[in-house]
């Protein structure tokens, strides 16, 4: 944990002009302390967060900003302590059901007033994901697409095309297997990667609405649509499409299989692109396709997890915190922080522009024009925390022992009933 303090006194003189120009919009002059706790601890996100604080500080020279960056994994367990014991003014978190425990405990501030402002109309695409009980509880700063990243060179060598239907998908897979290459790499040690597969298989088999109802706990895990999803999954498992021993690997440990060409594709979020490139894959070797159609006629829907900022209800300087949230969502800021030199992800604000990167462009096009069914967050953000943990463990078990399916579904259903009633 490190603390990054902007020494604003030194900056004040040189940036007076810029400051008045930006802050003009909302009049009020901000002062006092603004305490920000952030989980953006990886090198690139950390630089982005520090950059945002610096630029915001320049706009509001009288404001003393204290930024504390906490390791991203540790943050997930620390947040519950600091929100009630020592609340900052601004904190990072995630959209959708993942914020529900804090919302229902009254630990997040209702920011519906911000969403009523004109600027926020450009964020309409994520409004649903930020809404619980008819109010909004935070603002998004970035999101990214999920999809199939594959070895273009291997596909070309074997004369394969990007599949658009389930049959093409399986035919491709069979060709790969015949050539001694696994279709997909995956590492399920930390479970969530299997959640991604379930999301896509279920959304393609049964559509977004069913998937949303299922993750919300309104549909039974014993229903026949759920079984169909698992039957489709099982086809791949029985073919031997996934690498062996995936339950032993983390998602990073599963990367070398694709880098060495032992597996041809990876269903993953766009953050993996940096890892592929670091691992030596060139843009000629790596490409992306949208997860293919399974049930014809069902509108495609995608996973696009959104990362967010919130104001804890115990915040001391809510005025400054709101101004910081306005600053975060502004088109200009979102264009900057999401470009290829920074986060390398997609901006949420519709008025901002997307980086020229091949994968970001494909992802942006897919999410804006080819995802008519809707946009889901991710299994462990859409489902409640406990359901997610039990279910993803079940998915992992299914991928290793598909014959245990009945037992697994019974367990999931029991958990659902305990959490949601009937």
């Amino acid at each position: 944990m490190t603390t990054f303090k902007t020494t604003l006194a030194a900056l004040a003189a040189s940036t007076m002009i810029a400051g008045t120009a930006f802050a003009g919009g909302h009049g009020a002059k901000l002062s006092g302390d603004l305490v920000i706790f952030s989980d953006m601890s990886n090198p690139a996100p950390r630089a982005v967060m520090e950059g945002m604080v610096e630029r915001f500080g320049e706009m509001h020279p009288d404001l003393n900003i204290e930024l504390t960056v906490i390791d991203r994994e540790a943050y997930k367990t620390q947040i519950r302590n600091f929100l009630s014991a020592n609340p900052p003014d601004v904190a990072n978190w995630y959209a959708a059901n993942r914020m529900r425990p804090f919302v229902s405990a009254g630990l997040f501030e209702d920011v519906s007033d911000l969403w009523a402002e004109d600027e926020f109309a450009n964020l309409a695409s994520t409004k649903g994901a930020m809404t619980i009980d008819g109010a909004q509880w935070g603002v998004p700063y970035t999101y990214y697409q999920w999809g199939v990243y594959y070895r273009e060179d291997i596909y070309n060598d074997l004369g394969l095309e990007e599949p658009t239907t389930w049959d093409e998908e399986k035919a491709n897979c069979q060709t790969l297997l015949d050539n001694g290459i696994k279709c997909y790499t995956i590492g399920t040690k930390f479970l969530w990667t299997a959640g991604g597969w379930f999301d896509y298989l279920n959304m393609r088999t049964n559509g977004y609405d069913f998937h949303a109802a299922l993750t919300a706990g309104e549909e039974s895990w014993l229903s026949s649509p759920v079984r169909e999803t698992f039957e489709n999954w099982r086809e791949l498992i029985d073919m031997g499409a996934f690498i062996d021993d995936h339950q032993t690997y983390s998602w990073q440990e599963a990367l070398p299989f694709m880098l060495r060409g032992e597996a041809a594709a990876y269903l993953m979020g766009n953050f993996s692109v940096a890892q592929f490139r670091d691992g030596g894959l060139t843009d000629d070797q790596l490409d992306f396709y949208q997860f293919p159609t399974i049930t014809p006629g069902i509108a495609k829907a995608e996973d696009a997890p959104t990362d967010t900022f919130h104001i804890p209800s115990g915040a001391q300087n809510k005025e400054a915190a709101r101004e910081f949230l306005r600053f975060v969502v502004s088109a200009e800021n979102q264009t900057l922080i999401n470009n290829g030199d920074n986060l390398g992800q997609l901006p949420v604000n519709a008025a901002s522009s997307v980086d020229n990167d091949e994968f970001l462009q494909q992802g942006f096009e897919m999410l804006s024009s080819n995802s008519p069914g809707g946009v889901a967050q991710f299994f462990d953000r859409d489902a409640s925390a406990e359901m997610a943990s039990v279910a993803m463990q079940g998915f992992q078990e299914f991928m290793v022992f598909p014959d245990n399916l009945d037992d697994i579904l019974q367990r999931l259903e029991a958990t659902r009933i305990r959490l949601n009633g009937n």
């Binding site: 367990t77 425990p101 405990a105 040690k189 021993d245 339950q247 032993t248 943990s389 992992q396």
Partner: protein, 305 residues
């Protein structure tokens, strides 16, 4: 005379009786606040349903013994409990293993201190490092284990990915440093073995196993007791190895009670403080059996002398 006694302050008069307590006070206070009271808090919390978050309208709800009822039917709890038993039993292998290494190293050869240090080395390095080293050792594709099994013609085995083997794999990794610990305890113990008794045993014709069993081991009893205590405690504290090697997986088959408690109450997806506390209480009761035994034998020991 009477007057001088009366004039002495209360503290002066009771100095001998009070001073030890003054010195003990900080320790006692911290022990009460950080050890004793949390035990009772856990008992209390285990009767509630609470997500661990503060905030208004989020009070803990009293549910009586329902958390314990749920434990009875929770298959994940059963798996964790059984794994705990496996740990307790198999971890004790560290004691004989440590004894034999100690006997082996208890000789005067040039450089024996270096060998002793090398054997002790695994206990010095962090459990996290031990876990990582063994994770690589067990790696199904690149690990040394499968390489070695290959030489003798045995098939590849995914130790940490197989629900039936995973706990044994982790226990084995834990035995590596624990054996070293027991070894050092026995080495110290062996220094105190009375040479005259060995001499006497020799004259009576004892050697080998009989010498070990009837002459050496009885003298090592204090060391064995300590080795037993630290090994039992080590087995019940097996959290870090599990967390680093498998994260409780595959599908929860390598969890023990402490890890399951953490997962339910404190982890990324865990919001059930009451349920976690109930697991903690069960773990505490198991520990209590051993703690009572330890305390009782120590008490008996002191009485005896």
């Amino acid at each position: 005379m009477d007057r001088t006694i009366a004039r002495k302050s209360w503290y002066r008069r009771n100095e001998i009786a009070v001073t030890p307590w003054l010195f003990l006070a900080p320790g006692v206070l911290f022990f009460l606040v950080y050890v004793i009271s949390p035990i009772f808090q856990s008992f209390h919390l285990s009767l509630f349903e609470w997500n661990g978050l503060g905030g208004e309208n989020n009070a803990a709800k009293f549910v009586g013994l329902r958390n314990y009822e749920e434990l009875m039917t929770d298959s994940a709890f059963e798996v964790s409990l059984i794994n705990n038993v496996k740990w307790l039993v198999l971890y004790l292998l560290a004691i004989p293993a440590g004894l034999f290494i100690a006997l082996f190293l208890n000789q005067t050869v040039t450089g024996i201190r270096l060998y002793k240090s090398l054997f002790f080395f695994p206990f010095v390095i962090s459990q996290i490092v031990v876990g990582l080293v063994f994770t690589w050792f067990y790696d199904p594709r690149f690990g040394l284990l499968n390489e070695i099994l290959g030489w003798v013609g045995l098939g590849p085995v995914n130790m940490l990915g197989d629900p039936d083997l995973v706990t044994y794999g982790i226990i084995f990794a834990g035995l590596w440093p624990q054996t070293a610990y027991c070894m050092i305890l026995y080495l110290t113990g062996l220094n105190a073995v009375d040479p005259e008794q060995i001499e006497a045993g020799r004259l009576d014709g004892a050697k080998g196993w009989r010498m070990l069993w009837h002459v050496i081991l009885p003298q090592l009893k204090p060391a064995t007791f300590i080795a037993f205590v630290v090994t039992i405690i080590g087995a019940l504290r097996s959290f870090d190895l599990i967390s680093i090697m498998t994260n409780g997986g595959p599908f929860g088959q390598s969890r023990v009670l402490s890890f399951y408690m953490f997962e339910k109450a404190l982890s990324e997806y865990g919001f059930r403080m009451g349920y976690g506390a109930a697991i903690a209480v069960v773990l505490f009761l198991i520990m209590l059996i051993f703690i009572s035994y330890f305390l009782w034998s120590m008490y008996r020991e002191e009485r005896g002398h």
